[in-house]
Symmetry: D2
Subunit: 342 residues, 4 copies
C-alpha cells in the first residue's frame, strides 16, 4: 500500500472503472473520491457495483479534497483538468483521463475543442516506440482517448515498419459507455438497443487529430486519416477496422512479421493466431488490446482489426498501466489480461 | 390476389421475412411453403411470429411442390437455386434470394464460390441507373446480397456523378440474422451479445466481387474495394460506412446535390436532412435505405453512411420490390417505409 | 379513408406506434400531429423511422389543433388527458392511451396517482367477457395499461372458468420503451444493456389496481395480486409469468380447455400448441398476445406465461382495435398478427 | 501457490469462469485443463478472453490427466461427475459444479434426472445456516445450481426467522450462458436478442427440487415452490423475484431486520439500502448476491428480489468460495465484490 490515490470524477463511468482497478491494485490505497453534482452522496448510490466501497461518501472536487495524495486520477469533462491540475503539487502524480493535455499542436486543440490549449503532457500509451522512457518518473500523464488508443496500436507498427502509405481509413464501433453517463434521449436503452448508428462523421470527431498525431509520428510524415466512429448496442468495447494503403511490394509475411515484432513481448497487446479475429467480448474488463492483420491483395490495403474495452485499456486500465511506469511499479501490477466472457 | 406465390426455404430467416411481406401484399396469394429438413412440420413450429400462417405445413422443396405458381421465391443456400430454377417453367417468375445468379463474371464466381457459374439474371436493385427497364417483364431476378445492396446504394451516385476516385473502403456492421439460422457456437446469444467482431476480412467475403461489379459499372472503370464486414449485437440491420477518395475539386455541395438528384424521387431510399445520421433502428422491418453524406476536407474522402434492414430492403423487401416491377404491379405495393421503432 | 384521426403526443413512443398503425389502416386519414415541447419540429427529427410522414410538422397539443377530427388518440403523460378530453366534442371518438380513465374506484385512483379521479371510460380490452358490446359505438375509450393487458388476458379465463383461487402472483419483464422517451440515467443504454432489474416492487406499481380490477371482476370476488415489474434489456415486449392457486380438483385438461374456449375464436390472442412457450420476439410490432398454460401439480399453481408487444397490443394496437369496434369497422382492420422476427 | 488445481471441462462457460477466478487466486496454481471433444486444442481457440492461458493445450478428461492435483474442479455435463469422482483420490478436494451430488433425496433425483442417484456431498452454499462448519475440511463439495443459489439466499432468512408461510413463487430471469455453449437454434443471438421467453414451466425445471430442499430445511417443514425460469437477452446474470406468503402479524420492520441479521456480516451477500433495487449489472463478474425486500401489505406477500452473476456467485465464484473454506484459506481469497459495470 505504497501510494495513496484520489479519484476526481468518481461518479462517472471512467471514475468507476478507475476504482475497480485501484481496488485490485496491491500498491494503491484509495483515498478521496470526489464528484461535482453528486458530491455528498454515498458511492453506492452511483456505483452500486463497487460493493466494498459502497459506503464511501463523495466529496466535492477541489484542490483541497485532492490534496495529500501521492497520485490523483482525473476523470472529468474536457476542459476541467487544466485549471485543477495547476493547483495540485508538482510532486504529485497527476493522471488525466480527459483530453486537455493530449495534443501537441495548439492550433489543432483550438480547432477541435474551441478553447485555449492547456499544454501537452507525456502521452500514456506505453506501447508506442520509446514511450516507456518518456513515462518513467513523470509526474504528469495524459491518458489517450479510447479511439486513438486502439487505432494507434492497430496501425503504428505498419508505419514504423515502413509498410503503409499515409492514407488511412478507420471505422470504429464503440459501446455506449464511451458517450458517458449524462442522460440524453439518443443514448436511452430504447434507442440504442438493436441499433448501430454513426456520429461525428467526416473528420469532425475530436479524436481525429489525436489519431493523426500518433500515426504521423510513426510514419515520419503527415498521415491522412478518415475516421468514422459508430455506436453499437453494447455497453463497452471498441472494435476498430483500420486500413492503410500498402506500399508497393509489401507482403502478408512482412506485415505479420512487423506486428509480431512489435507486440510479441507486450504484456497487454496480442496479435492473435492466424485465422482468429478479435471480438470486443474478448477484452471486457481486461487491460488488453487484441488484433489481427490481413493484406487485401486486390485493393492493396493493409487491414488491421483491433479490439479493446474502452473503459479498461481505453481509459482506466491504460491510466493505471502508465501510472505504474511513472511510479516505478512493475507495469502489469493490478491489471489483468483476463476478460469477463461470455 | 392476382398472383399465386410459393416460397422455397420458408423455415429460414429470409423465407420468414418473405412471408411477412407477401402476407401484407394485396396482389399475392401465398401458395406452397417448402423446406429441406424441416418439411412436414407446421410453419408455426419454426416461424411462430407469423400467426395466421402457423397451421400451414411445410412441404419438401421440389420442382413438383413449386409447380403451379405464378411466382416462386427461392430462399435457399447458395448453389441450390441453379439446378432448381432450371426445372421451373420459363413463364414463372423466379426470384432468387441466393447468390447463384448475381455475378456476371464466371471467373469471379468460381474464385469466390468454388463451383461452376450458373449464369447471370437481371439484378434486382431497381435504384441502379436504368435497372427498372431491365426488371420490367423479366421472368428471372437475382436479388442482390445485403451488403452489396447497401454499399451500392451508398456509393453509386458518387461514381455516376463523377465525384469519386476508384478507391473505396467499406466497413459494415451487420446484425446476426445475416448469418442465418443454422446453429453455430460463435453465433450463440452468449457469444454475440456485448460483442462486435470482424469476419471475412481482407477481401475474402463473397459479397466483395458483387460490390466491385456494381461500383465499377457506375464508375465506368475498375473500382478497388476494401470491404470488411463486422457482426454487431443485434438481430437485424446493416450500417455501412462507405468512403471513396474524392476527385480533385469536388465540393460538399456537389456531393449533396448528386445524392439528392439520385434519390429525391426514390420511394425507398432517403438522403436524410443535413445533421441527421442514419441508424439501423430507423429501418427495422421497412423496405428503406437511409443515408447521409459528408466530405472530409482534410483526408479528401467522401463518406457515405447508409442503413438498411438486411432481411427487408436487403433481401425480402428488395425481392418483392423487384417482383412488383417484373409483374407490372406498382413498385411500392405491399411494402412499407415505416420501421418498427424503438 | 372514412375517418380523420389526430394524434396528441406524436413525438413519444406510444404516439409513434399509433402513427405506424394508422398509416397502415385503410379507414384512417392522419390529421393533426401534436406535441408539447417538441411542437414546431418536423416529425422526422423525432420519429425518423416513419419515413413518409417525416416532413409533417408537429403542432401544439391544444383543443384547437385537435378540433375537426373524427378520432383523437391521446398519448400523453398521466393526468393530461382528463382536462383535454373535456374540451373535445362529445361526437368525437377520444381514445386515451393514458391511465386517467381506466380505474373505476376513485379511491384507488387517488391512492396510486395522488390526484382527483377524472372518471371512468369504457375499457379498451375487447377480449374481456362482454367487452365488445361495451365498446361498440362508444365515443370514449380508456386503453388499458400494458401490464394489465397481458396479465388480464393471461388470467381472466382461469377466473371466469372458476379454476383459480383469488391468490395471484404476477412477475413481468418489460422492454425499456414502457418507461418512455424522457432521458434518465437509469434508462441509458449503458445501464440497461446486460441488466435485468426490478422496480415498483411490493404492490406499489400503478398498474396493480388495474390488474386487481380486471381479475376481481372475472372472479366475482376480490383477488389478491402480488405484482412485480422488471426491466429487461430489450426495447419492446412484455413477458408476464402469471400464477394463481388452483382450486381443488382442477386438472390440466380443464385448464387447457378453458383457455381454448376463451381464445380459439379470438383474432389476436393465441393459446400456443402444447410444448411451445411464448417469447416476446414472437410479438414484435404485431397486435398479438401469445400464451401457454401449465398446472404445477406439486405446488397446485396454475402458471400462465403470456407475451405481448407493450407498444402494439399493449398500447397502440389495442387502441386501434378498440377504435375499430367503436366505429363499427371490422375489428382486425389495419392490424397484423405478423411480428418482425428474428 | 499452495494448491495445484485442475479444471475438467475447461472449454465450457463454467470452466472458463473457474479459470478466470483461479488465475486471480494467490493460493492456486493452475494445473491440468481438460475437455471432451475439444481436447488437443489450445485454450485460446475456445476461451480467447483468458489471454495468459491462451497457449495451454486441453487434455482429455480422464482420471489420469486429473491425477496429481490438490484440487479438481469439475465443470461437466450432469451425470459425468459421479463416475469420474469415484476415481479421484479421497485426499483430493473435488468440487463438482454439476448437479450429481446436490440432492439428498434419491427419489427426487431420479424423478428429475432420470438416472440412479450418485449420492450427496456437502452443499457449497456457505451462507446457509451452519454450512461453513459442514464445508470446513471437506474433500467433496457439491456446488449449488445457479437458480437455487439466488433463490435460497433470497428466501432462507424469511423462513429461518419464521416470517413466511410455506407457499413460495419464484420467477427468475437468467442470461443465456446458463444454457451452456452447445449450439442450438433457440439460443442463437438472432433468436434471443430482443426476446424474453419462458422454459421449464410448471414445476419441471431440474432446479426445482433443489430450491425446495433448501427452503424446506430452513422452514422446518415442506415448502411448496412454484418456480418459473425465463431467458433474458443478456449473457450473464440472474434476477430472481421471490415471494412467500407472510405469516400473520409480520411487519416490514421485522422482515428487514431478519435480512440484516442474516447478511450484515456476510462478505458476499448484501441487503441493499432501502429504496435501491438490485440489477444483474451490479454483479457481473463478481462473487456477490445483492437483494432488497418488500412487504406487500395488500396481498400479504413478502417479496425479495435478488441478483447474482450465474457464472460467478452462481457457479465458479461459489465453487472457489467453498473450496477456500474446505482448504482453510480465508474465505474471500481470490474473489471480488467489484462487478464490471456499466
Amino acid at each position: 500500500m505504497g501510494y495513496r490515490a484520489a479519484v476526481a470524477g468518481a461518479s462517472g463511468y471512467a471514475g468507476g472503472e478507475l476504482l475497480r482497478f485501484l481496488a485490485a491494485h496491491p500498491e494503491f490505497e484509495i483515498g478521496a473520491l470526489t464528484a461535482g453534482g453528486n458530491a455528498g452522496q454515498p458511492l453506492g448510490a452511483l456505483q452500486p457495483h463497487l460493493r466494498s466501497l459502497a459506503g464511501r461518501i463523495l466529496e466535492e472536487t477541489t484542490p483541497e479534497t485532492l490534496a495529500g495524495h501521492d497520485v490523483v486520477f482525473l476523470a472529468l469533462p474536457h476542459g476541467a483538468s487544466g485549471p485543477l491540475a495547476a493547483q495540485l503539487g508538482e510532486d504529485v502524480l497527476v493522471v488525466d483521463c480527459g483530453a486537455d493535455f493530449r495534443l501537441e499542436d495548439a492550433g489543432e486543440w483550438e480547432h477541435f475543442y474551441g478553447s485555449p490549449h492547456a499544454g501537452t503532457w507525456p502521452y500514456g500509451l506505453p506501447e508506442l516506440p520509446g514511450q516507456r522512457a518518456v513515462l518513467a518518473g513523470t509526474k504528469r500523464i495524459a491518458v489517450p482517448g479510447c479511439y486513438p488508443t486502439v487505432s494507434s496500436l492497430a496501425l503504428v507498427p505498419a508505419f514504423t515498419a515502413g509498410l503503409a502509405e499515409p492514407d488511412v481509413v478507420v471505422v470504429a464501433a464503440s459501446g455506449t459507455s464511451g458517450a458517458g453517463k449524462a442522460p440524453k434521449t439518443n443514448l436511452l436503452g430504447s434507442e440504442v438497443m438493436g441499433a448501430v448508428s454513426a456520429y461525428g462523421v467526416g473528420g469532425v470527431h475530436r479524436h481525429t487529430p489525436e489519431i493523426i498525431q500518433n500515426l504521423s509520428k510513426a510514419a515520419g510524415e503527415d498521415v491522412m486519416v478518415s475516421f468514422t466512429p459508430t455506436l453499437a448496442p453494447m455497453s463497452r468495447g471498441i472494435l476498430a477496422t483500420c486500413t492503410a494503403k500498402a506500399k508497393p511490394g509489401v507482403t502478408y509475411a512482412a506485415l505479420r512479421e512487423a506486428y509480431a515484432a512489435a507486440y510479441d513481448a507486450e504484456p497487454f497487446v496480442d496479435l492473435l493466431p492466424e485465422g482468429q479475429w478479435p471480438s470486443t467480448a474478448m477484452t471486457l474488463g481486461a487491460n488488453t488490446a487484441l488484433m489481427q492483420v490481413a493484406l487485401d491483395e486486390r485493393s492493396r490495403r493493409i487491414v488491421v482489426v483491433a479490439a479493446i474495452d474502452n473503459l479498461a485499456k481505453g481509459t482506466a486500465g491504460g491510466a493505471v498501466q502508465s501510472a505504474n511506469l511513472a511510479l516505478g511499479i512493475p507495469e502489469e501490477t493490478g491489471l489483468t489480461t483476463f476478460a469477463v466472457a461470455p
